[in-house]
């Protein structure tokens, strides 16, 4: 019976390819859009993941990483006084403007790292050494600064520009995850960043901390929040907070959600319709089988086998194509593309739903089928 079912499926090449194309397109669209969406979300929290510190402490009303709420400078010592905290260091984050030698202005995100430990530093350097940040007037820029501020000719190691009328000398180029708003980052030591920063009463933006090895990060984070009255988040929590803020305050979620839903509906429509046509065309054969004594249940099994076979094949081709697109287009980090296992499982689930939907329509048709149709 299974052999007959598969023979039936593959036999009509045009219909089979039509069915396969529909499903492949549907899977590809969902995977591609889902991956771009998730890639964007990862960009939105790059301000957190690029610094890569386990615990973030700041004002309790903070909504996302780029929205800085400065805190008192003694907060570093208060966090250090909480039991279970191994270390705590200050971090400055603010918006500045870089003025290049040719007179161009560029908005930048200014990061001030603790001078002695440089905790929060970028993990990879394309050029230069991060330790050189301790030399006078030194800053490190990321590779996006090179791209945005005039290319490798204008920004290289040794370039001098101004931030807030003060001299900054590039000593290195870091390789980091691109930011959602595509604003280049400039790294300096905390003390230097505060001299670049506009005069403000409070200049400490975040306290980065780490729990002792024998204590769970979550417990220490809760304890910091309780004992200091500040907002303390693990890296993951803060990342999610930022993602949720982006979803709530921008149209990105709705936009991509609609596309994914459309992909799902179109896929379901194409697959359901084609499969139904396919079944209708083969009604004579099904009728003959029924006349020979095959039960409706056996016919249903045949239909389900056909639907799932074409579905699985379509899934494989679809995700393969989407991945190929992603790896080619996003290889240089210019396009947000992040494919994940949960997304694939989600798509797999949707595909099963489409298959079940298509099979159900056909099975209903077959259940009503009279074997006498063979003789008409």
């Amino acid at each position: 019976m299974s052999y007959v079912a598969l023979k039936m499926l593959f036999g009509d090449r045009a219909k089979y390819l039509m069915l396969l194309c529909g499903l492949t397109f549907c899977v590809m669209l969902i995977v591609q859009q889902g991956s771009i969406f998730w890639g964007l979300m990862i960009w939105s929290q790059s301000g957190i993941s690029n610094l890569n510190a386990p615990i973030w402490v700041t004002d309790p009303n903070i909504s996302q990483v780029a929205e800085v709420k400065p805190i008192a400078s003694t907060t570093v010592e208060r966090v250090r006084s909480v039991p279970g905290v191994e270390w705590a260091v200050p971090l400055y984050r603010g918006v500045g403007r870089a003025r290049l030698a040719n007179g161009e202005y560029h908005q930048i995100t200014l990061m001030g790292l603790d001078a002695s430990t440089l905790i929060g530093r970028p993990g990879h350097m394309q050029e230069g050494r991060i330790e050189d940040l301790r030399t006078p007037d030194a800053v490190v820029v990321d590779q996006w600064a090179v791209e945005r501020m005039g290319g490798p000719e204008a920004i290289k190691v040794g370039t001098i520009f101004e931030i807030n009328d003060k001299k900054a000398r590039v000593v290195g180029i870091a390789h980091v995850q691109k930011d959602f708003q595509n604003i280049p980052s400039v790294y300096a030591t905390f003390e230097r960043a505060t001299t670049y920063a506009p005069p403000e009463r409070r200049l400490l933006s975040y306290v980065l901390a780490k729990a002792r090895d024998n204590e769970p990060v979550e417990a220490v984070t809760r304890r910091i929040a309780e004992q200091t009255g500040l907002g303390a988040f693990t890296q993951e929590e803060f990342g999610w907070k930022t993602i949720l803020w982006v979803l709530k305050n921008t149209g990105i979620g709705i936009n991509f959600g609609t596309t994914i839903l459309l992909g799902f509906i179109v896929g379901m429509a194409i697959a359901g319709q084609t499969f139904y046509l396919f079944t209708v065309e083969n009604l004579k054969q099904f009728g003959a089988l029924k006349a020979m004594g095959a039960s409706t249940f056996a016919l249903a099994r045949m239909i389900i086998l056909q639907a799932f076979t074409v579905g699985l094949i379509g899934f494989g081709v679809g995700i393969g194509l989407a991945t190929l697109f992603g790896t080619l287009a996003a290889s240089r980090g210019q396009l947000p593309f992040s494919e994940t296992w949960p997304l694939l499982w989600l798509v797999f689930g949707s595909l099963l739903a489409i298959c079940i939907f298509s099979a159900t329509i056909s099975i209903i048709k077959l259940a009503k089928l009279e074997p006498a149709i063979v003789f008409r």
Binding site: R121, T228, G229, I313, L321, T323
Partner: protein, 320 residues
């Protein structure tokens, strides 16, 4: 198997494997890069952290001139060890020296006048005695005797006045000497010269904003630790602590408790802005330490961890 004969099946399988390969090869979140220097960590189970500054144990002395004047000589340079009463500065003293000469010169005439007067008194005394020694009262007039007696007594008073004049002249000379002495600024105590902001030829005025010479004691240093007022109840007098110099966490400096400053002061945040506003107030705790084998300097910043008894009392929640 009919399934294996179809190209689409193989394409599909290839797609699955390719995706799996890409996803497995995709890099995970990397571990945090190791800090350049290990960050300062507390050696105690529970701790009160503070930021501190190294300072001279005795407060620094800002040497000031006793009077406005031209500086003619600076006796010390930065780093000199000076003893108590060692000369530091010489102000221009020519005027007073000239005065001293005049006043000194006024003493010998006064002395001479005394001598002169003494002789005059002696002469009158002799005359008077002789007049009295005459037996025949008619040989001398009563008037002469009286006159001589009056002259003698008056000249004795002049002698007294001349003595007083001498004392006055000497006192005037001594005044000038003391004033002259005052123009040499001397060290009020033994110590080290930390700053010299003045050169010979400059004009010193009392109450100037810039210190002429900063005198301090760098042999014995102490640490002044600032604890946020929110954490002030956690500090127990007498508990030991450790300090780390900024950027060298490998070497801890053990601290012994000295005292708690009884008055909570605004934290100094040196932003260089002329409209500073008080952000936080801090409790200051003074710690003694013995000089470690590596160099430490007055004015250096340190991270301080103070031992805290079991963390039972949590600080009150304060507005961040």
């Amino acid at each position: 198997m009919i399934v294996l004969k179809r190209l689409s099946v193989w394409v599909s399988l290839a797609g699955l494997l390719f995706t799996a390969w890409i996803l497995i090869a995709a890099k995970k979140q990397e571990p945090m890069p190791t800090p350049i220097e290990p960050p300062p960590t507390s050696p105690y189970e529970s701790t009160v952290a503070a930021s501190g500054i190294i300072e001279a144990e005795n407060e620094n002395v800002r040497i000031a001139p006793p009077a406005a004047g031209l500086i003619t000589k600076v006796f010390v340079k930065v780093g000199d060890q000076v003893a108590l009463e060692a000369p530091l500065l010489q102000l221009d003293d020519r005027e007073l020296r000239a005065q001293l000469a005049v006043r000194q010169a006024a003493i010998p005439p006064a002395q001479a006048r005394i001598e002169e007067q003494k002789h005059r008194v002696e002469d009158l005394q002799v005359q008077y005695k002789r007049l009295q020694a005459v037996h025949d009262r008619r040989a001398v007039s009563e008037d002469d005797v009286k006159r001589t007696w009056y002259a003698m007594e008056a000249n004795k008073r002049v002698l007294v006045r001349n003595d007083a004049d001498l004392i006055q002249a000497v006192a005037q000379r001594d005044e000038t000497k003391i004033l002259l002495e005052r123009l040499t600024v001397r060290s009020p105590r033994a110590g080290t010269i930390l700053q010299v902001n003045v050169r010979a030829g400059e004009y010193a005025t009392p109450g100037a904003s810039e210190t002429l010479i900063l005198l301090g004691e760098t042999q014995r240093l102490q640490i002044r630790a600032d604890v946020d007022e929110v954490n002030a109840p956690l500090v127990k007098a007498g508990n030991p602590g450790v300090a780390y110099l900024k950027g060298s966490t490998a070497q801890a400096i053990p601290l012994t408790f000295a005292r708690i400053e009884p008055y909570i002061v605004p934290k100094k945040s040196l932003t260089g802005d002329n409209t500073e506003r008080v952000d936080t107030r801090v409790l200051q705790i003074i710690y003694h330490f013995t000089r470690p084998p590596f160099p430490v300097y007055a004015g250096q910043q340190v991270d301080v961890f103070i031992k805290r008894d079991r963390a039972t009392n949590t600080p009150g929640k304060a507005a961040p």
